[in-house]
Symmetry: D2
Subunit: 258 residues, 4 copies
């Protein structure tokens, strides 16, 4: 007889685990703005194994609204538990010449994806995230078409932290930073004095990546980082194109780097 489960809470049969085991399936709507940061600031967010790569200072501000499920798909039967929204920052980087994206900050509005983020090394925090949705009929929302205007915002503990706006102009290819692997530091604090935290450099393994039609246009991005100077160091020095698209992936596991 042993307590079992993929995650806490462990229980006799394992049925109480708050996280289901991977793979995890995601389908969502993304509103994203390319921007540039000071390359020296970006470099300070990379562990020693990573390099800035061929385009130093490339960054993106990514809002997304997701549905997710596990292998059984059972979560979709109860939408109170299968939707969440997210904001994250991406920095271009490379590992041994392979282009990757580093996520220095991420916020989600549900606890299960937050915990799942920590399992992967994705540094998710809790925030209030809102996005415009494209609509099919009527005036109360944009179409996924030229002229469609999308907005999104993040607040943390009742403070606004980030806002983006995108006005679509034309079909486009998927934006680079959303199409490369993510590389994370799994980091879980120690609790017993004298022990060391768990710490690993891993790339996320995904499959079944699918982009819906990608639209590109003008972008705007404001970062209002409050008192955190580290976050403030990633404010835009230049803002580039904006994008909106549907996206899906299956998140499978991690791959050790270094």
């Amino acid at each position: 007889m042993t307590l079992t489960g993929y995650s806490l809470p462990l229980s006799p049969s394992g049925s109480s685990s708050s996280l289901t085991s991977p793979p995890w399936y995601f389908s969502g709507e993304v509103v994203m703005v390319d921007y540039r940061v000071d390359p020296a600031a970006a470099a300070r967010f990379l562990p020693p194994e990573l390099e800035l790569g061929p385009d130093p200072g490339a960054a993106a501000a990514v809002f997304a609204e997701w549905q997710w499920c596990s292998e059984s798909g059972a979560e979709l039967e109860d939408p109170a538990g299968s939707r969440f929204s997210e904001f994250l920052i991406l920095l271009g980087c490379s590992f041994g010449g392979e282009p990757m994206a580093r996520c220095p900050y991420a916020w989600v509005d549900q606890a299960v994806p937050l915990m799942r983020g920590w399992v992967q090394g994705m540094p998710k925090q809790f925030g209030s995230v809102h996005l415009t949705r494209p609509v099919q009929v009527g005036r109360a929302g944009p179409r996924m078409a030229a002229g469609g205007r999308f907005s999104a915002s993040l607040a943390v503990r009742d403070h606004r932290v980030a806002e983006v706006a995108v006005t679509l102009a034309e079909p486009a290819e998927p934006p680079h930073l959303h199409a490369v692997p993510l590389v994370h530091n799994r980091h879980f604090p120690a609790w017993v004095p004298g022990e060391k935290p768990l710490h690993q450099l891993v790339a996320s393994e995904v499959r079944d990546v699918e982009f819906g039609p990608v639209w590109r246009g003008s972008g705007a991005f404001r970062l209002l980082p409050g008192a955190d100077e580290d976050l403030a160091s990633l404010a835009p020095v230049e803002v580039g194109a904006g994008y909106a698209f549907s996206y899906a992936e299956t998140l499978v596991s991690g791959r050790r780097l270094g």
Copy 2:
């Protein structure tokens, strides 16, 4: 110098009004199940001016996720204030031979549409409302197509109150109860002893009604009304077809009946 505004709070310029003046524009996604109630129970929810009409006991359980804006469209720039979700019950009825729908109960998850409901006479209360969204790519959600499965739930003060599920089978016409005018009792309590509440029978005037492709299939609906026997009296005696569709309308004003 007078205090002014469409609604409270009144202020010198009127800019503080928590409600914008109509028209109000809505675009959304609807998941709906036709069902039947005891006709005698439905009759008890009609004011004397209304009749049950040609199909006594016809009812619907309607979940919807909305975006809205006022004439300027400014609300869409800040999605933290321009989205809400809703659950409502509809009962078939008629006024002077005109087919209408009576909404005995409605719940929304944002305060502005709640207050706006009371202006119209729509009896909105606060609830936690969740719906599956159709997705364009990937496995984590239904397609708006045969086999697509949608779920939705309502909780009030942390108690589950209603759940629906719909599995789409085929294209269809818009369901009857979503296509007829709503008839409400505007009712606002008196506050000074001896005075009477405001009380009016009104039909809602809408324009620009637009349905996206309507899909129909099998439906399921559970009502878990807790201690409220009046709500319990509208539990399903039979459950009919389910529907999913996009819908838009512009809500303009009320029309007095009687």
Copy 3:
């Protein structure tokens, strides 16, 4: 057979009314800062029947955390529905020589007190409200005693709007603006074209007013009103004493003025 109830939703027995009928009982913890506004700005928030009174520009920023119940007390059995927090601004004024307080703005974090506010004419909107609570043991909170430090914040649609801080120094009398009657404009929009809104000037009738020990000290208050210039006109030109105290009252009805 008639539909009945104190408020919407009306139902056969009246049991579905989302508001219980008054009297309503309140017990809470208040954190409050006296401040001064430009008297001309305050005057613009008074209807013609009211005057600024003997202390033009007197104002207060009041945070409170409440429990409430109706005559039966049944709400206290389910704390998911019997607690809320509130922020409001008060302006000193007088009616026919009687000192009163005008509430130009108020925010609450639950829908039932919001609706109840509109019944009284109190211009409640929805906001996210947080207060420090006094504690009995340990280090994680202030004592209701000299040196106790209390903070509170309001956010609306994920924007910070108001922040206060109070450091207690000494016992004191109840602050004036929390001890005089509130005077409101009940205002409910019309819906049928050509009709006029309901509009009445009323004072709130309360009984059983009870103050716990009142502590006074230094106060701080910031108003960050975003784009609303009417709200901005009530920003502090001077900040006075801060207070913390327990408070209870029974809200009974309205009294017509003028």
Copy 4:
């Protein structure tokens, strides 16, 4: 140059860590009911190193509303981030003859204490938690005195899961299960295929434990566990005394057992 911080997100200076490093200070109000479970069910929630101890089947249902801060106390300046509520189940057990308490399930309504729970091995999940607060004045709440009646509830994904009620009768000693050390399995999933999860048996080290006056009386406890049979196995076979009290502690670190 290395990325640093107590927890994710790591950043150049460490200022972005979502968790502050311990010690963590807690002051709160507890509403708790002693109950008994099937001892065989309790045993199935113990790892092999633990025994049921001298009172097999002893259990408690514990609701608490907390304020917390780190060494600096800065969190108390912003109550939007320094309060949370919690529900947990405790089971009596022993390790090498030392009486301890096992927490098989816990829920909190804020993400930071949830993550902090996982660092300790406390199996916190996200839930909606509400408690009655004692009041000082008025009718809308209990006094911490004979006859005072407290209620509390937990909902998870909009389903009610637990409800307690306590009516105070007399002063008492602190309840046993709230006065012994907690023993947890720290468990953090692996992510790279072939690796093992982090897994440690630890007792929590606390200091500065302080109880306010403890009141005891009759208790009620309902567990509505939905589909999780493991949780259901801990439903009460007998319900004992209820308690309400203020409590504080400082949580310092973990101590390895075994």
